[in-house]
Amino acid sequence: MVARRFYKRWSDYKRNKYLYALLLPILVWYGIFAYGPLYGIQLAFKDFQIMQGIAGSPWVGLKHFHYLFTASPDFLQILGNTITISFYHIVFGFPAPIVLALLLNEIRHNGFKRVTQTISYLPHFLSWVILAGILTVMLSPSTGIVNEGLRLLGLDPIFFLGDPDYFRFTLVVSNIWKEIGWGTIIYLAALSAIDPHLYEAAVMDGANKWRQVLHITLPQLMPAITILLILRMGNVLDAGFDQILNLYNPSVYSVADTIDTYVYRAGLLQMQFSLTTAVGLFKNVVALLLVLFTNFIVKKAGQEGLL
């Protein structure tokens, strides 16, 4: 009996030997580059000594975590910055594409609609290095066009990239610039799926445009909005690493240093490998828990979950 089952298994493998051969390279890649780094996580509980390597460095238990939460001068501020910036992105950046999609959906002139979409998607395809380079020129306090505009209005110039009071605002607005158009795609797809009969019925009942948006369009968009919002909440510890690393400078570290930028600076530039591995582990564990939690909520809300 066992022998027969073994034989069946074996012939299954043999029949699919080419498929397994095709699969092998990618599995090796995942083994090395996705699972390999998990081995280095032990550094969070060790004091890394370059000469001894990862395995040979001495264990120190929870020392680094204890330090981060009780003695570190920066960590709590960095955690606070990360959550605050992320929160601003959600409060102001998340609704922006919804509003744009609703407006585009009302435009009857198709050519105009298409041109607007084409322009608004463009910044999404460029890197933050390019966009930061352009922003530096546009926002310069002495020669930038934005500050010239402010001066024309009789206002004082603002150092958008160097003033802690304005830096987060700059982050939020420039991120909207990059992603607003791109964000509309899913909503426009959802909008085009709405049954036109609903609107016809509403017009028969004498509903004006505003009432149609309020009572038909928005409720129909709600499932898409809910899912995307919940998913976004799951990434609350991602405050936009590429963007911040290319836009910030020491004068705004107090408001703009986040978990990822701190790990890069303290870890790779100051070689505090163990401490920053601990920071990274903290972030990844929290992120995983948030994903599991939001997935649970999505399923509870009657939607198909991710996992």
Binding site: L22, I26, W29, G133, I145
Partner: protein, 293 residues
């Protein structure tokens, strides 16, 4: 829908079109400004105010940019990583996604779980950095390609597409004596051209824009990518880099402002050229992806 508009509706249309026109103009202006400055002579380029087009068109800034070694190395390395990285990624992901799309493959589900898990948990920056160093990839151009070879999201999109290819097609090919590898390249790949094009464009744009690996893993100045050069010139404002870039420049025809604008445009232009395709395939891809990621 296209019946006669009421007065209120017409007013709304005008207001909405007006608002969107202003919004588009604001979003587009920074690019127009950089193009205009990069093509202008210093006298006009550094004057304050709007720059909608060059007042005295010249290609001097671009000529100076291409005279600079850094641009040459950056361009070559960026093209290398974009072309080779995209081709290798397509190969390994297609090869891997096909077996995992076949319902009869034993252990298909746990293998897929092993892959999907990596989307939600990783070792973090420092362990990855130490791994890359210990593999001897530090300061090698292969660091641009190998550690980021597979993108799990693209991989899942590919696999989900392969699932929709009916098994009957491959069964008849198998009766004719074709093995799985042959079926993949002569049957499945031709049927999947649109999705492969989408994934290829995603990967190529990723490579063109990637800069962080170049920042942390590359020391050798001949191995830098365009984005890193750009970062030094326009983001970090390194004087040393600028001096090298401006060597032998005649400041009557080119100044740092126009030079920086030209380098910015050189790195943006390839994206603009493929932009019509990007828009078409990216939009298709994101809609396919959002249906069931």
């Amino acid at each position: 829908m296209h019946s006669i508009m009421t007065r209120g509706e017409r007013l709304f249309q005008i207001a909405a079109i007006g608002f969107l026109t202003v919004l588009s103009a604001v979003m587009l202006y920074p690019f127009v400004h950089m193009i205009a400055v990069s093509l202008d002579t210093p006298v006009h380029a550094i004057r304050p105010g709007l720059h909608l087009y060059p007042l005295e068109p010249t290609l001097e800034a671009y000529r100076q940019a291409f005279r600079y070694d850094g641009i040459y190395y950056g361009f070559t390395n960026t093209i290398f990583r974009t072309v080779v990285g995209t081709l290798l990624a397509l190969c390994i992901m297609t090869m891997g996604a096909y077996p995992l799309s076949r319902k009869y493959l034993p252990h298909r589900y746990p293998l897929m779980m092993v892959i999907v898990f990596t989307m939600f948990f990783s070792g973090g920056l420092i362990p990855s950095y130490l791994l890359v160093k210990s593999l001897g990839l530090y300061d090698s151009v292969w660091v641009y390609i190998i550690p980021s070879l597979v993108n799990t999201f693209s991989f899942i999109i590919l696999r989900n597409f392969f699932i929709t290819i009916p098994v009957e097609l491959e069964e008849s090919a198998k009766l004719d004596g074709a093995n799985d590898i042959r079926i993949l390249y002569s049957l499945v790949v031709p049927l999947s051209k649109p999705i492969l094009a989408t994934v290829a464009l995603w990967t190529a744009v990723y490579h063109w824009n990637a800069w962080f690996d170049g920042l942390i893993y590359i020391q050798d100045q001949k191995k830098i990518v365009l984005q890193i050069l750009l970062r030094r010139l326009v983001v970090e404002n390194l004087d040393q880099e600028l001096q090298m870039a401006m060597q032998q420049a005649n400041t009557q025809y080119v100044v740092p402002e126009t030079m920086k604008a030209a380098v910015l445009m050189i790195s943006t232009l390839p994206i603009l050229i493929v932009y019509p395709f990007l828009q078409k395939y990216f939009v298709k891809g994101i809609i396919v992806g959002s249906l069931k990621g």
